[in-house]
């Protein structure tokens, strides 16, 4: 495993017990410049996860708690009239930061949601015709509670597409939970975390990830999987080419994490469910039958044809 990345993950693991995969996936998203949608019930450590990640890379951490009455300006910022200068002055909102936790985004109105998602996609905010680029690294981790639907505004698929990965936290097992209790007994462990890499190093790492080699054979494999989602009978809407790009980028980060400078189909296979699952809409009848998108993706993977010969150069 690549040293610096391993350091980040181990640092996170100090506070997150038994959540190595979530930590890894979060780091992958961070490294490939994408955003993460965390889906799980409250109290399993979503906030802790993001905080620990932010602390490990020495990034600024901001949190937006989404409520139904939250306005887009509360997210992206607002221009305020300054009587001193007799001018409107731009006050950036909480979105302008490095690592942002957007908590329970499905609680807020679609207007606010789209403001958030737009700035996520563009990595900039625009107020009164003025565009402010958000500094890199920019990483949003949004959470949503899949249990409560009362008074929520489920994110439309087009919006979900903007998240690189969707990760489920899941409960810790009994041992892990005891360990969680033990660590929280006296102090907040998060307070003791120190950064393991600097922001500059993180940016350099992101650069390296972009340079991880993706062979045409692997690209074709990614496309093969993406196209397969569009033909499965249980699927109403398959993934977009944006999803293929996302899968490739995430695979690059995953390869880098394993200290490899090229992407293998293994990487693609591992990440495909995390990248594709939230971008697929099942047909209602499939949903009633209890088919999950993850199952379908795994089926697609098992039926896919791994390239085992050198890609013919055209």
């Amino acid at each position: 495993m690549y040293k610096q990345i391993e350091a980040i993950i181990e640092n996170i693991e100090k506070v997150m017990i038994g959540k190595r995969e979530v930590a890894e996936l979060s780091v992958i998203a961070l490294l490939s410049g994408g955003h993460v949608l965390l889906e799980d019930v409250p109290g399993v450590g979503k906030t802790m996860m993001v905080k620990a990640l932010a602390k490990s890379v020495g990034a600024e951490f901001k949190r937006i708690q989404f409520t139904p009455d939250l306005l887009p300006t509360d997210v992206i910022g607002v221009s305020i009239y300054n009587p001193k200068t007799l001018q409107f002055e731009f006050r950036p909102g909480p979105i302008v930061g490095n690592i942002i936790l957007a908590d329970e985004i499905n609680r807020t109105s679609p207007k606010t949601q789209s403001a958030l998602l737009e700035s996520m996609e563009e990595a900039s905010v625009t107020i009164d015709g003025k565009t402010l680029n958000i500094q890199k690294p920019f990483f949003v981790m949004a959470t949503q509670n899949p249990i409560e639907y009362e008074g929520t505004y489920p994110l439309p698929e087009a919006q979900l597409d903007r998240f690189l990965l969707k990760i489920k936290m899941g409960y810790p097992n009994a041992h892990e939970e005891i360990e969680v209790l033990r660590r929280s007994e006296r102090s907040e462990p998060i307070m003791d975390l120190t950064p393991v890499i600097s922001l500059d190093e993180l940016l350099a790492l992101q650069d390296q990830v972009r340079n991880v080699y993706v062979d045409d054979s692997v690209k074709s494999y990614i496309v093969q999987l993406a196209r397969a989602t569009r033909t499965v009978s249980e699927i109403y809407l398959g993934v977009s080419p944006r999803a293929s790009i996302a899968l490739m980028k995430a695979s690059q980060a995953y390869a880098k994490m394993q200290d490899r400078d090229f992407v293998k189909p293994d990487d693609v296979q591992y990440l495909a469910p995390f990248v594709f699952a939230h971008r697929i809409i099942l047909k209602p009848e499939a949903r009633y039958e209890g088919v999950t998108t993850e199952e379908l993706i795994n089926r697609i993977i098992s039926k896919s044809v791994i390239p085992i010969k050198r890609y013919a150069e055209q």
Partner: protein, 730 residues
């Protein structure tokens, strides 16, 4: 694998089954060699099996068997007790004598006692082998295949009827195979034998075998789809000299046995005789009179008596001969070892230089054989005096069937009781409206020229047990050669009350040279032929030729003018080559399309040697199948050899890896399409308890997905590769 987990009961059960299978080996051997003492030999088998079953000490078992064999030999061949000095003396002398003969390789002289001795030793060894198959290999497949093959061969080539033996062997073999399969499963899984479980598993299998067998036995079965290969094999190996065997593909030519007609023929260009005569004519050999619904046999009239003629004697023949002044001479030069005289129509005498020569004419069949010093011989050169019979047209036209000689009625109107009525009805239809007997006969002769009949030597059916040869030809196949046509005509003639008989001989052959008035004809086995003679009252026997493509001349003196018959009669052109229509067609085809010559030749060759091609093809396909099935064992070696021969560079890394995947797949380690290489490699490594596959795979992935610039240590790869390939073969 655990060893010797067989317990006594189980092994005993297998041995009982084996005993019954071995019994099926012995029965035909006894039956065919005429050897008695089946029980004693069976007892020997039982003894050997029992000794093997109870794991009697080798030396003791040896002694017991040895004593039994000694007792057996002395008891059977000298009728003395083995315990008396005389018995021992007999044994020793037999042994001494036969060893000497064996050393001289003088196999014929070996005595029966010694043969039996060797046979028992063979059984002894076979039981050792079976014991090994059962206890170590736990499969008796080879033994079963061998048994089935053995019985099958005997059934095909000898008198022995193996129908039930085969069924018994298959049943016993299937049960045995099921037992041993379970045994193998238990042993390989290392599961201790549990009788309840065992019975639970075995019972349904036995039930199933029993049920399927019963169903199979009672299901209707179609007749053999392929003709019997034996006649072909015999013909191909040159043992078929006297030609037509009972059924199946025969070789064309003259043969004695016509009791079962039908089946395809293989052409044979062997020259039988050279004839020098003025005209082309049929050469008659013999007649047959009893139709059996399957073929022809001779009646018992004259009970085998013959009339003897010397050279030059006037031969009394049932056929009329022509006027004295038309007497002609034909010279025959036999080239094929047939022991008969061919007869032209109107034969008067046979001349031969040797006065001691006699000619025996069988009174029943009119077959003439040359005899010298009471031995039938083959006469190579002789000449025949004959005068072709001429029939008066007026006589023929006025013929009727009143006041037939009872002898003729009895002998030449015979028909089998099983003859289907529709044959008779057809014959009556055909002759309806024809008044004279001759006209009726001609109507039947001409019937085959129309009505969709076809001449063919290949695609000819053999009647089944219940079928009538003639009925099958007339109503079902309508395809056949001379035997079909001639037999059908005889039967139809007899059906309408015209006495008729079946004639065998040779057609005129091919004109090869003209020498003044005389012409030389070459008659080959292909010219072997059969035709019809009918008895026309007041006229006598007259020949008819119903076979399509053949013409036989009969001289008719048109002593009064007629406007209906004559034209038709004339159209029977005497000079037309009496040859197979097929050949003629082929010839015209050749002339028309010279371009197709090669293809025609190839096609003809294939058609003629169909069986050779079919068998070669089967052998080829079979061989290829075996090679393919066995590729698991030879392909890795080939790959290894290939790699040794050429230096594998990085460019062949892909090839090597693909070979490896293929070899592993044959070993049952198949990568699923969606499975990544490294996960598969881990499975392989886990199976072989190594890490070579992962090593190669990591490098291969690098080569495959890591861009073009990657360097691979090919030597190390080759080492791992060879290791893995070797592991798959071991």
């Amino acid at each position: 694998m655990k060893k010797n987990t067989f317990n006594l009961v189980e092994l005993g059960l297998y041995y009982v089954l084996i005993f019954f299978i071995l019994r099926e080996w012995l029965v035909p051997v006894m039956e065919l060699t005429g050897t008695g003492y089946l029980e004693l030999i069976l007892f020997f088998i039982a003894l050997a099996l029992a000794l093997s079953l109870f794991r009697v000490h080798f030396a003791i078992a040896f002694l017991i068997k040895f004593f039994y064999i000694s007792w057996f030999i002395v008891h059977v061949y000298s009728k003395q007790s083995v315990f008396t000095p005389a018995g021992i003396q007999f044994l020793l002398s037999e042994f001494q004598y036969n060893i000497g003969i064996t050393l001289r390789a003088d196999w014929v002289q070996v005595t029966d006692a010694f043969r039996t001795f060797l046979f028992l030793i063979l059984i002894w060894m076979l039981i050792y082998l079976i014991h090994h198959w059962i206890t170590v290999r736990m499969t008796i497949f080879y033994f079963l295949v061998l048994t089935v093959f053995f019985i099958g061969t005997l059934d095909t080539f000898t008198e022995y009827d193996g129908t039930y033996a085969i069924i018994k062997i298959i049943l016993l073999g299937l049960v045995m195979t099921a037992f041993l399969f379970l045994k193998r499963l238990f042993t390989q899984a290392g599961v201790e034998l549990n009788w309840m479980k065992y019975i639970k598993l075995v019972f349904p299998v036995i039930l199933l075998i029993g049920l399927t067998s019963i169903v199979a036995i009672y299901l209707p079965k179609s007749a053999p789809q392929w003709p019997d290969p034996v006649p072909f094999l015999k013909a191909a190996t040159g043992q078929g000299g006297e030609g037509e065997l009972s059924n199946g593909v025969g070789k064309v030519g003259y043969g004695d046995n016509d009791s079962r007609l039908g089946g395809a023929f293989v052409a044979d260009d062997t020259v039988v005789l050279l004839a020098e005569s003025e005209t082309k004519q049929y050469w008659r050999i013999e007649t047959k009179d009893v139709y059996t619904s399957k073929g022809w046999e001779n009646s018992t009239y004259y009970s085998g008596s013959s009339t003897v003629y010397g050279p030059g004697d006037l031969i009394q023949h049932s056929l009329p001969s022509g006027p004295e002044e038309d007497t002609k001479l034909a010279t025959i030069h036999m080239l094929y070892p047939y022991e008969f005289i061919v007869q032209p129509y109107g034969l008067k005498s046979i001349s031969q230089t040797s006065e001691a020569m006699q000619f025996f004419m069988n009174d029943n069949s009119e077959k003439i054989v040359p005899v010298m010093n009471n031995n039938t011989i083959q006469l190579n050169n002789y000449s025949l005096e004959y005068s072709k019979p001429v029939y008066l047209y007026s006589d023929l036209k006025s013929s009727n069937l009143e006041n037939l000689d009872p002898y003729l009625v009895d002998r030449y109107l015979q028909l089998p009781e099983t003859l289907p009525n529709r044959v008779v009805e057809l014959a009556q239809d055909v002759v309806a409206g024809k008044e004279s007997v001759y006209d009726q006969a001609r109507a039947i002769e001409m019937y085959f020229r129309q009505n969709g009949f076809r001449y063919d030597t290949d695609d000819v059916a053999i009647p089944s047990e219940e079928q009538d040869y003639v009925d099958q030809f007339l109503f079902e196949t309508k395809v056949g050669y001379c035997d079909n046509f001639s037999t059908s005509m005889v039967v139809m003639l007899r059906s309408v009350g015209i006495p008729a008989r079946w004639v065998k001989g040779f057609a005129g052959g091919e004109l090869i040279r003209t020498n003044g008035d005389m012409k030389n004809f070459e008659v080959t086995n292909n010219d072997a032929h059969s035709w019809v003679e009918a008895f026309i009252p007041n006229v006598g026997w007259i020949n008819f030729e119903p076979t399509i493509g053949f013409n036989n001349s009969r001289s008719i003196d048109y002593d009064f003018e007629t406007d209906d018959e004559r034209e038709e009669e004339l159209s029977v052109d005497e000079e037309t080559e009496p040859d197979e229509v097929v050949k003629e067609q082929e010839e015209t085809q050749k002339q028309n399309t010279s371009q197709n010559n090669l293809f025609t030749a190839i096609f003809n060759s294939i058609k003629q040697h169909k069986w050779i091609y079919v068998i070669s093809l089967l052998i080829l396909v079979g061989g290829a199948a075996i090679v393919y099935v066995k590729r698991k064992s030879w392909l890795p070696k080939v790959y290894l050899k290939m790699s040794k021969r050429k230096q594998y560079g990085e460019s062949s890394f892909e090839l090597m890896y693909m070979q490896l995947l293929k070899v592993l797949e044959m070993k049952g380690l198949k990568r699923k399409e969606g499975q990544t290489l490294i996960t598969f490699a881990k499975e392989v490594d886990a199976y072989y308890e190594t890490n070579h596959m992962s090593k190669i795979t990591v490098a291969y992935e690098q080569y495959l997905y890591g861009g073009r610039s990657t360097k691979i240590d090919m030597n190390q790869m080759k080492e791992s590769w060879e290791y893995l390939i070797n592991r798959t073969t071991s």
